[in-house]
Amino acid sequence: MSGMWRFLKKPEGPALAFMVSGMLWFIIGTLYGLVSAIDLVAPDFFANIAPLVFGRGRPTHVNTVLYGFVTEVLVGCGLYYVPALLRTKLWSPPAAWLSWLLWNITVLSGPICFAGGHTQGREYTEYIWAFDVTFTLAIVLLAVNIVMTIANRRENSLYVSVWYFTGMLLWTAGSYPIGNVMWHPSTGAVAGILDTVILWFYGHNLPGLVLTPLAVGAAYYVMPRIAQAPLWSHTLSLVGFWTLVALYTHIGGHHVPQGPIPNWLKAMSTIDSMAMVIPVFVALGNLWLSIRGRGGKLLADPAGRFVLAGTVWYLITCVQGPIQSLPAVQRVTHFNNWVIGHSHIAILGFAGYIALGAMWHILPLLSGRELYSRRLVNLQFGLITFGLVGFFMVLTTAGLIQGGAWNNGQTIYRVLPEIAPYMFLRAVMGVLIIAAAFVGFYNLWMTLRRGRVIEPELREEALS
């Protein structure tokens, strides 16, 4: 018992646990993605196998990769870098373990519940009420833990990564219960069109106030470290941080373009979507200027390469985003695979790449072991990059075919055969991404088991 307690009190435990479980969800979640992709190629392939039917497998895929893989790995990184940046220890490792447990119970509820149709069905808020509770608890506990860690810091100034990580927890603790309409436990929704407004308020807080701060925070930590350069501008960090939360929270309306929501919401969401270039370009500019002239260092480092590529995906996503929120463009790009392309480069490209890069960078610091294989990290990078670039091209093409044809009067049924080849190619590209998930898990596991132990002195040096 006391041995158990001692284990729970190890400061690096929860961070590692979040990474390991996140990488496991990466495998499971993408396998569900493949199932859904196959459903769209050969709809009778899994005929009448209820859990794998598209309408049930897809939410399992989306929630598992989102809340399981990307977010968990990034939280794991944060649980390491926040105390490290504050020159202190995590306030309560046991509480963080509890958060980990509650979080994973939530994610596990996805494959189990959705298989039987137990879902609240609104995109990104599918977990049923009981697991909304576990998730909210996990977030609140983490928020307390981090705020207390800040209170107990030995470093006076708060680095920008700390702002983002703390902000994410504070915001999500409010945004998640509201978005999930937790005061209506049975449906997780309010009645009527207002529900759409609430859903997409959350729906855009999820990328905006969960994934973006986590990923940008991690990039702010990793990139200057690998480049061994100071942060370029404190002012830009400030502008990027505060405009993020001020603007991102206003753009949910762009998910229901030309829909029956009030015009002022639509106008606001379009304008603020344009304005989103401010936090994005400010953060990117700050990061890239920080590593100016030292990009080679990031490219040479397997972890750095992932993070750097993640920032490039961020650029692409956030050039695409404002453009596709223009009504004239959205008439064609909405409702089809164009948006699925955007989602994948955003969540896997931007947030996922940075999650993986930050994890590979932090893992040795955290575990005291060198990476089992840098070549496997490179292999993973290659597989994902090939797969995702293919994904993006294929889905964008399919989306333009669909959107253009519909806009010119073809019926959806008639256009289905036109996208068939792209649905097939997407499934093929997906296999590469899944392979990368397996490679990553193997490398992680072997690092923890077999990685060469780093001499304590070297480790101290690396930490300072």
Binding site: L40, A50, P260, P262
Partner: protein
């Protein structure tokens, strides 16, 4: 500006909750749309259907609102905020792998939905929608009730039109195949009956007609046009066996116009859908020729009256002669007295 813990925590929370007030509370306080003119409450069955719709993730492939630039299913009516009153949850959807369903009620009769939900490929051979057979018939009934309620009062109007025609269609079917066809043709506006297919069935036209047929019709009428498609066991009346048409030519020679009209317009009350949205005019003439040539074994293409010849059609002489129609047992002879030409 130095970011202190207090500034961080209080500032982050204030900004977030202020935005929340603008983006959630303000709408909640101001959005109270009155029910739209077509709105009506859902019955308990329809409500249960909505639950199934949510549970089975129909919303990942179907939207429930129509925009100004839509043409497909339901495009006759733009979405209004008052359409969704009291519906909880009312998921609008962000993806259209399948068509918008907000106005789907009454598009098809229930037997079409039974076949379609059992396996969508039965009625729509190219569909990507999952088969829902595993849900069982009672859930499929609830889902059907839900779909039939989409569109509110407009849907009710369409449903009553379906029902208005369903009884006579089923009665005619019960009177036997020939009586059925006579009844069907009695409903076709006269001008369409004595009209030949104006376009020749050249090999390219027939190849196109075949593609259209396999993509759109084969699930019901069967690959060889005998009405024995995979959907047939679920439908009443069953899909037509085209070979029967050989003894039901108008004036002993015409069928092209009838085929065109029936395909374009569908047969309300039966599973036969309209194709005016899916198929442009040329494709309907092509599939008509395909059905005529391959399943009826005769086409009236390019016969008189043909009006001014279409500019681009190559010359083609119709090699078919009208079949010697035998008076079918229990049926009027098809070679009825010639009707006067429509003007």
């Amino acid at each position: 500006m130095k970011v202190t813990p207090a500034l961080l925590v209080i500032g982050a929370l204030l900004t977030f909750w202020a935005s929340m007030a603008i983006m959630v509370l303000l709408p909640a306080a101001t959005m109270h749309p009155a029910p739209s003119s077509t709105w009506r409450p859902w019955s308990s069955e329809e409500e249960a259907g909505n639950t199934l719709y949510v549970q089975n993730g129909c919303s990942y492939c179907h939207s429930r609102y129509i925009r100004t630039n839509d043409w497909d299913l339901g495009a006759e009516r733009l979405a209004e905020p008052g359409d969704y009153v009291a519906q909880e949850p009312s998921i609008l959807g962000t993806e259209r792998t399948g068509p918008d369903l907000s106005q789907a009620g009454g598009e098809h009769p229930d037997d079409w939905h039974l076949a379609h939900f059992t396996n969508p490929r039965y009625t729509r051979p190219q569909s990507l929608m999952p088969a829902w057979k595993f849900l069982g018939e009672s859930d499929i009934r609830l889902l059907t009730a839900y779909v039939q309620a989409q569109g509110g009062r407009d849907a009710d109007t369409r449903i009553s039109r379906q029902q208005r025609w369903r009884t006579p269609a089923q009665e005619a079917y019960a009177r036997g195949p020939d009586k059925n066809i006579e009844w069907l043709h009695d409903q076709v506006p006269h001008g369409w009956l004595a009209m030949p297919n104006p376009y020749p069935p050249l090999p390219a036209d027939l190849a196109r007609g075949e593609k259209v047929y396999q993509d759109q019709c084969a699930g019901c009428h069967g690959p060889i046009g005998d009405g024995q498609g995979l959907a047939a066991p679920y439908l009443n009346p069953v899909p037509l066996n085209f070979t029967l048409l050989r003894r039901h030519l108008t004036d002993g020679r015409y069928l092209g116009g009838m085929l065109y009209y029936q395909i374009m317009n569908g047969i309300t009350g039966t599973a036969m859908p309209y194709f005016k949205r899916d198929l442009e005019s040329e494709k309907i003439w092509d599939v008509s020729n395909y059905v005529a040539v391959y399943f009826v074994g005769y086409t009236d293409a390019t016969m008189e009256p043909r009006g001014i010849g279409a500019a681009y059609e190559p010359a083609w002489t119709n090699p078919y002669t009208p079949p010697q129609t035998q008076p079918a047992a229990a049926s009027q002879p098809a070679a009825a007295p010639a009707r006067t030409e429509p003007r």
